[in-house]
Amino acid sequence: MEMTRRELLKKSSKFILLTSAAAAAWDYVLAGNVEASPNYDLTKHWWAMVIDIDKCIGCGNCVRACEAENDVPSGYFRTWVERYHIPDWTSEHPEVDSPNGGHDGFPEKYKDGGKTFFVPKMCNHCADSPCVQVCPVGATFRTPDGVVLVDQKYCLGCRYCIQACPYGCRFLNPKTNTADKCTLCYHRITQGLTTACCEACPTQARVLADLKNPKDPIHEFLRTHSVQVLKPHMATGAKVFYKDLDGSVR
């Protein structure tokens, strides 16, 4: 198997050229398929959400809107609001409650000072989501525009993803017996509308953002504010950005 340098270079350059030509041809073949909606390009978006803790008033509009928009069964939540109460004497153990997910608002409970605030929660649409990794049948997937979705026809209802989600954002839908979660109102955002929760939020505490759109105000927002994600140590690539998140929030 003697091979001169010339032969090696010839062969390898041929190989590279031919494989790239084949890949380009394959891309061309794929591009030939007409999309269901011609105006929406999956590759031109990278969806995220900005949540401003300082604006959330805990009215529960987002929870009710999500329920109405997505037919979420009662008692289950694709988005919910938590109330954090950090007493003056300890910052290590905040009290957290979420009566009916914040669906019916929050009756006054704390009168003793300390720090109290609302934290809306939802699917973080992680770029490296644990739920996608554990699905044994590939029913949970990440779309090229950065939304984590569930294929209801492939899902077996094995609940692995529900256990894997570090944010507790998934549940087993009792009607379909498949995993259910926030779709980031995929049926709305692909038509140019915002999500139901953002539409219903009276204070703009939630704002849908497109990280691939250079004109989106999120870029300015991320530059000029202190912004965190939940559980950054888990390296999930979470895309729900919280402004001025208290360190005690899990």
Partner: protein, 198 residues
């Protein structure tokens, strides 16, 4: 090749086609990897009968064909177009009907209300934040007529005092504030600032 195995069981550790040569008496040596030895081993030394081989090849080919046929039947043709998932799932999810029409749709007809609202404190509040999901009304305004929300419940959802709400957000204890009067007796929801400065 001086392990005990070779001495006690002479055939162990020897390639089977070389064993054939040994049986025929054509080779007595112990150097199994001599190149001339391998060169001497012809096709007939390799295979006593080609029938077995054909059977294996046929079985393999049948298996491959069966795999391809089943895959074609089970896996959608466009699977993997955007990633490791069924592209049809995107269409399934997008087929879900819209319930909230969106502010632009409301303001297309109700421009007078939008104008009033734009001057008040509620300028940033979406229409359906208070009026509820009304996409069906937007599609068919004459037959689907929305009901006006009850201000006593509606306003309190946001403006009832609560320690957890941001300090800058206007809050009242409704029982003390209005004494049971409906909010819209004094405040007009689209522009809640009191006209007479009271």
């Amino acid at each position: 090749m001086s392990c005990g195995y070779v001495r006690t069981f002479p055939w162990r550790g020897i390639p089977w086609f070389l064993r054939e040569l040994r049986v025929k008496g054509e080779w007595q040596g112990s150097d199994l990897w001599a190149p001339e030895l391998h060169a001497r081993a012809g096709v007939k030394d390799f295979f006593r009968s080609t029938e077995h081989l054909l059977r294996v090849v046929l079985l393999l080919a049948l298996g491959v064909v069966a795999f391809l046929v089943i895959r074609r039947a089970v896996v959608p043709a466009d699977f993997g177009k955007y990633g490791h998932f069924r592209p049809g799932a995107l269409d399934d999810i997008r087929a879900h009907p819209i319930k909230f029409a969106g502010r632009e749709a409301c303001e297309a007809c109700h421009s007078d209300q939008a104008e009033t609202k734009s001057h008040g404190k509620h300028a940033q509040v979406g229409c359906e934040a208070c009026h509820g999901p009304l996409a069906r009304h937007a599609e068919d305004p004459s037959s689907v007529v929305p009901q006006l929300p009850d201000t006593a419940v509606l306003c309190a959802r946001c403006h009832e005092a609560n320690q957890a709400k941001p300090k800058t957000f206007p809050q009242v204890i409704t029982a003390e504030h209005s004494g049971g009067l409906a909010c819209n007796t004094c405040h007009k929801p689209h522009n809640p600032q009191l006209a007479s400065g009271g």
